[in-house]
């Protein structure tokens, strides 16, 4: 094409970059820049004000955080416990409910709507609602226990009951999402394998264990990934129920709540960035392990 002007030829040669450029600029501005800035802050002693002069201190923050057994490591443990327990219960419970709703029955629509209700509420509002219900003195939960002759429980107020109570709230709010995903997966399965298994005389449990579950596995993995990432970064429910620092004994302080407190209560921007970077690395590592495992399964 000898007549084509130079810029058009250049554009033609580089079109894959040109078309991708807006998306790349977007990613750079909204993901790479903040991440790089956080990384930079984590290597400084920035505190008080982000604009104040700060000193480059290398990995001192990392050493401080990683040797902090008062706040950091307990927060890691709580993050793990919160995510692990909530995720496990949500998937098992979600699967049970999805199986119940799988086959058509009368009033099915109403039941589905009722089950999805918790999902549409804002987590902060949900947290505040449960905080009222679980109030140890004037809350509904202890009154209800009183009717069936059980003594009052401390719920959110107790140092050792607070974390399980927040996990319960998370399960209450997010199990419906798992139900929704699994139900979509179930309804898309074809009936033939089920029928074949039935003719072979398989029991309901055997059909679930050896037919439904393996076929549904990709959907389950999607649900686990989506809910897992969400549960890891839970903040709103914890903040709305226990406030800053996760309570007077930091009883529900997860990594997110801890990093928030470092930034907004202590104005320790360097340390807060360090915690966030470590949290980020933890998630990357977790995802790497999961994907490696998935590949291994696929390769079998």
């Amino acid at each position: 094409m000898p007549d084509t002007p130079g810029w058009a030829r250049w554009a033609n040669d580089h079109r894959k970059w040109l078309f991708a450029a807006p998306a790349m600029a977007f990613v750079a501005a909204l993901i790479i820049f903040p991440l790089a800035w956080t990384m930079y802050l984590s290597l400084t002693d920035s505190s008080g004000s982000v604009r104040a002069e700060s000193e480059f201190i290398g990995f001192r923050n990392y050493i401080d955080v990683l040797t902090d057994t008062d706040r950091f490591w307990p927060a890691v443990a709580r993050t793990g416990a919160f995510t692990g327990v909530a995720l496990l219960v949500e998937v098992v419970l979600g699967m049970a409910i999805a199986l119940l709703l799988w086959r058509p029955f009368r009033g099915e629509k109403w039941v589905r709507v009722a089950i999805l209700l918790p999902l549409v509420a804002t987590p902060v509002a949900v947290g505040m609602m449960w905080r009222l219900i679980f109030d140890p003195n004037i809350g509904l939960a202890n009154q209800a226990l009183g009717w069936i002759g059980i003594g009052p429980q401390p719920w959110l107020a107790g140092q050792h009951t607070a974390l399980p109570t927040t996990i319960f709230i998370d399960i209450w709010q997010w199990t419906p999402m798992v139900v929704l995903i699994l139900l979509a997966g179930l309804t898309s399965l074809s009936d033939e394998p089920q029928e074949a298994a039935m003719i072979d005389g398989a029991s309901a449990w055997q059909r679930f264990r050896h037919v439904t579950l393996p076929l549904l596995m990709p959907t389950v993995i999607v649900a686990v990934l989506l809910r897992g990432i969400d549960a890891l970064k839970t903040f709103d429910i914890l903040y709305a129920t226990k406030g800053r620092g996760g309570g007077s004994f930091n009883e529900v302080e997860t990594l997110n709540v801890y990093a928030y407190g470092l930034s907004f209560d202590y104005n320790e921007y360097g340390l807060s960035s360090t915690v966030l970077i470590l949290f980020f690395l933890l998630i990357i590592a977790l995802m790497w392990v999961l994907t490696a495992r998935k590949k291994k399964e696929a390769g079998r």
Binding site: G48, S49, V50, R51, A52, D135, P136, N137, I138, N142, P152, Q153, P154, L156, A157, Q159, K242, G243, R244, G245, G247, S248, F249, S263, F264, D265, Y266, N267
Partner: protein
């Protein structure tokens, strides 16, 4: 009232007829919003109000002031909580000339203690608008029923009355107060002072493990553990504690006077008719409640509309508005208003008397006076929650002392 033009000082690069004001949810704010049209008419300015809860307000400032944002002109802030940090970071405009120039504004009329809390390195960086004193809220009917003719004069009497009332009224707590680690510190401070202690000693060192402090921690925590509500939580701020009191489930409640309307307003309180107020009971060192400026107005240093921002402050913190505010139950910082009988004419009589006592004996701070207040409150608040949950308050005070001394050394560097 006249609004004099302000000469010199302040950045007016972005002067605008709209003044952007950020205020906290408070009775003061409700009152000022009602009066705004009057100001807008007088000054020809337009006021745009952003109203937020205390925590949200604090987070908002952290983000916006850190970023050097100029979209806040006037900010309502807590001199004892954020004042030092903000002033040190250069977020607050120097108001010295503006405040002292206008004779009508009469800066000398402001009480000394509040002014010193809004002054940083000899510069006026804020104007105090709301002051608070701790008083004792109590239930007149419960006292009468248990045969007490007067509210407690001393902390020992407080304990004795709480025990008797609790025994006479199953299901009703003798005493309720804030229990959250950081939230309780301010109300605990009056107990600390009345036992003869303070957070920091004269040479600037931690004093939270002094004998007096240990006694105060044990007393406050013990009273809540034994005479407090059943299943007591360690997360209560004033709203939860106030709810228990106004639901009729507690006899005594030490709290800031500025919140009194919550207890006496029949639409908010089941016990409105039976609420009484008493001066803070005396401890071994006498009755020493705090008397502090809880809120002030400041101008954002990054604002380009400082002259008009000052006009708003001049009006909102002026004599006329201060009197109006004080009549509706929000004590201010102006001497002339406190001396005006009209200012307290609407208060319950016993409340007005309690305030007079607090003003005479009050201590000018209710939390450690440092830069990183939130962190300091968590450290000195730990023995409070430990005492409430039945742990050894003295040992906890020793641990807190070590951490607090380290914190102070760190901050002094």
């Amino acid at each position: 009232m006249t609004l004099s033009a302000c000469g010199g000082g302040g950045d007016d690069s972005g002067a605008s007829d709209t003044v952007r004001v950020t205020l906290v949810n408070h009775v003061w704010t409700e009152n000022i919003r009602k009066a705004l049209p009057e100001f807008e008419q007088q000054s020809g300015l337009k006021v745009e109000v952003t109203q937020l809860g205390e925590d949200q307000l604090s987070d908002q400032y952290n983000v916006k002031l850190n970023a050097g944002s100029d979209d806040i002109d006037v900010m309502m802030y807590r001199p004892l909580q954020e004042g030092r940090l903000f002033a040190k970071n250069g977020y607050l405009a120097d108001l010295t000339d503006k405040a002292k120039e206008n004779a009508d504004f009469d800066f000398a009329d402001f009480q000394d203690a509040p002014v010193s809390a809004t002054t940083y390195e000899d510069k006026v960086v804020g104007i105090p608008i709301i002051t608070e004193q701790q008083v004792l809220y109590y239930r007149k009917d419960l006292l009468e029923k248990s045969g007490f003719s007067a509210p407690p004069q001393t902390l020992d009497e407080l304990k004795a009355q709480a025990i008797k009332i609790q025994a006479d009224n199953p299901g009703v707590a003798g005493f309720v107060a804030r229990t959250g680690k950081a939230a309780a510190v301010t109300q605990f401070s009056s107990f600390l002072y009345s036992f003869g202690g303070d957070f920091v000693d004269e040479s600037g060192n931690s004093a939270v493990n002094s004998e007096a402090a240990k006694q105060a921690y044990a007393f406050y925590g013990g009273l809540l553990r034994e005479q407090g509500p059943a299943n007591i939580s360690t997360d209560m701020s004033w709203s939860e504690a106030m709810a228990i009191f106004t639901q009729g489930q507690a006899a005594f409640y030490p709290e800031a006077n500025s919140l009194y309307a919550n207890a006496t307003d029949p639409s908010k309180s089941r016990v409105a008719e039976n609420v009484g107020f008493a001066p803070f009971p005396a401890g071994p060192a006498g009755s020493k409640p705090y008397n502090i400026p809880s809120w002030g107005l400041a101008i954002n240093e990054a604002s380009g509309n400082q002259t008009n921002a000052w006009k708003f402050i001049e009006w909102a913190a002026g004599k006329e508005q201060s009197l109006e505010q004080q009549k509706t139950g929000t004590p201010g910082a102006r001497t002339s208003v406190f001396e005006n009988p009209e200012a307290t004419s609407t208060y319950p009589e016993d409340m007005a008397q309690a305030i007079t006592v607090s003003l005479a004996n009050g201590v000018g701070h209710d939390r450690p006076v440092v830069e990183r207040v939130a962190q300091a409150r968590e450290i000195v608040g730990q023995p409070i929650v430990d005492a409430i949950t039945g742990r050894d308050a003295a040992a906890s005070a020793d641990t807190a002392h070590e951490a607090f001394q380290k914190f102070l050394d760190d901050e002094a560097r």
